[in-house]
């Protein structure tokens, strides 16, 4: 692993992290070192409690870095200010295990809201881009449905559209398939992979789901707070562009 790579989207070394104070102090991460290159799809796996999610929240700037060095999208997270962290988070597309869409909005409105973070994008352009990405995730017919009327898989598609519509420089996903059945889970990761490849967005995805490991360029395993192994995935950006989206030809055809 080349931790001194200047091009890396995520570049960290010597990361230690603990919860609690004094007697109750419990160390979660031990001397973690990782680097993710532009356009790379990296899966982070490992048993529950191994520290995957904590690492993800550190990268996302949602927790304060305690020890070590961590640069994300050119922001150094050591002693970063709240404003700086907010700026960083606006460049990241988030996909959560729980979609947490706003229940009082339609699918389209849930995606459009993201442009309130980008005042430079006009309302018309925002609506157009939101419409296009919803068509790409296969919800063109249901854009104006309130999210309460959508199925679990459809909601997760809206969440993906919401995460990607702002053209983030990095996508962080936490168990995006956990709440879905096998088929929907498969469709979701294929979709994510296709969109990411096409936009050359790097993805870091935490997952338990062995059924989706094949989309990765690289798989990192975590055990008790240590990165234990890093292996080449069965998919690779160089060798198999847009693999796994062959069933959804319209995705590759449309840009947004």
């Amino acid at each position: 692993m080349k931790t001194d790579d200047a091009n890396a989207v995520i570049n960290g070394a010597g990361i230690n992290f603990s919860f609690g104070q004094g007697e109750l102090r419990k160390q979660i991460l031990f001397d973690v070192e990782l680097a993710i290159q532009p356009g790379e799809i990296v899966l982070l796996t490992g048993p529950s409690g191994s520290g995957k999610t904590t690492l993800l929240t550190l990268i996302a700037g949602l927790r304060k870095l305690q020890e070590g060095r961590l640069d994300v999208l050119g922001h150094s997270l050591h002693n970063a200010s709240q404003t700086d962290l907010l700026q960083l988070r606006r460049k990241i597309g988030f996909i959560f295990q729980a979609h947490n869409l706003l229940p009082y909005l339609t699918a389209l409105q849930n995606v459009q809201v993201m442009f309130d973070l980008q005042p430079g994008v006009t309302i018309e352009e925002g609506r157009e881009r939101a419409t296009r990405i919803l068509q790409q995730v296969g919800l063109g017919e249901r854009m104006n449905y309130h999210v309460s009327r959508l199925s679990g898989g459809q909601k997760q598609r809206v969440a993906i559209a919401r995460a990607l519509v702002g053209r983030p420089e990095l996508v962080l996903a936490d168990e995006p398939t956990a709440a879905l059945d096998g088929t929907s889970g498969r469709e979701i990761v294929n979709l994510l992979q296709g969109l990411a490849r096409e936009q050359k967005r790097p993805i870091l995805m935490v997952t338990h789901d062995v059924r989706v490991l094949d989309i990765a360029d690289r798989i990192i395993e975590m055990q008790d707070g240590h990165l234990t192994a890093s292996s080449r995935g069965s998919s690779s950006a160089e060798n198999h562009p847009a693999k796994g989206v062959q069933n959804e030809p319209d995705i590759a055809a449309v840009t947004f």
């Binding site: 999610t53 993800l56 929240t57 996302a60 949602l62 927790r63 907010l86 700026q87 988070r89 606006r90 990241i92 988030f94 959560f96 295990q97 729980a98 947490n100 869409l101 706003l102 229940p103 009082y104 909005l105 409105q109 459009q112 809201v113 993201m114 442009f115 309130d116 973070l117 005042p119 309302i123 925002g126 936490d174």
Partner: protein, 384 residues
Amino acid sequence: MSQRIPLSWLQLKHEKMKLFAAVAGVMVSVVLMWMQLGLMKALFASAVVFHGSMNGELVIVHSQYEHLLHSKVFSSRLLYRLRGSPDVKDVYSVYLAPGEWKNPWNGEMRSIQCYGIETDSVSLKLPGIEQHLKQLRNTDVFLYDRMARPRFGDVVGAVERREPVELELNRRRMSLTGVVDLGASFGVDGNVLVSHANFLRLFPERKSGEIDVGVVKLRPGISVVSAQKQFQRVLGKEVQVLTVEQFKELELIYWRSATPIGIIFTAGTVVGFFIGFIVVYQILYTDVTNHLPQYATMKAMGFSDGYLYQLVLGQSVQLATMGFIPGSLIAAAMYAGLRKVTQLPLYMEPMRGVFLIFATILMCTFSGMLAVRKLRSADPADVF
């Protein structure tokens, strides 16, 4: 960062029952505040209708005068001394005393306020009084207060039916010659206007020329304040020279201290404010609590605290507006109804409206700001 999709409104209208409850709460609060402030103002205003009708800029009363029911007489010669001043256009004298009214229908005795006024000139600017002044010069006739309380008998009904009204006032047979609007108040249930001569017939113990109130009408362009100072110097310490506003204020000071009206209605207004405050707070608070995971998600995605505050406070302002308009319409209807029943001068005054708009917005914003504190517990790190 501001909303380009009307998130606040979409969130508000998403749950119709909650929206209805919140708007109803604001409405009740607005109606209460209108009523309390209106009644307070009307009760006080009713006490100074006579004072406000002075056809002049300055009023002269005895130095020990406190209020209408506690007057002291002074010699009208003092008043006539002012006639010589080049600043003065005219002076008028008013006698006043409580009289005994015998209800001609049931024979009950009631106290009624009697004023002896000029009949050659207009000393009180009451609407339509000019047409009655000539008849008022006749012996043993009076003008009746149309807005007097009903306990004096159905005089107004009799006038409408064009029936002659005759009755005993201070055990003297008097006949009615017309009606004017003056109004009942704290210490006064109704009023009667008579000529100076008839006043002295009704109150034989009173001496001609010993008056209660003098009215000074200045020539146009004369400074009221400097005239007041000059006249006070000329007339000496036996009388006080007051502007009409000071004359009113003297009456109000007494009623404010003599009655708990100010405290009661101010407290009522505050209660109204808090009803709205608590209803809106409860609804916004549960709303924020219910949406906490969504808000945490939005924070994680990079939405600022300010954006989320705006989302909640936007709802506050919308609730304020939606409650204020129907609340004010209801209050207007209630004002009209009460005006008819109580003869109190209840009107939707624009200044009170402006004050209440601000009070309502403040009420909703306060509750919104209190509810928004809950947002701090939305920790974006918990979303993962």
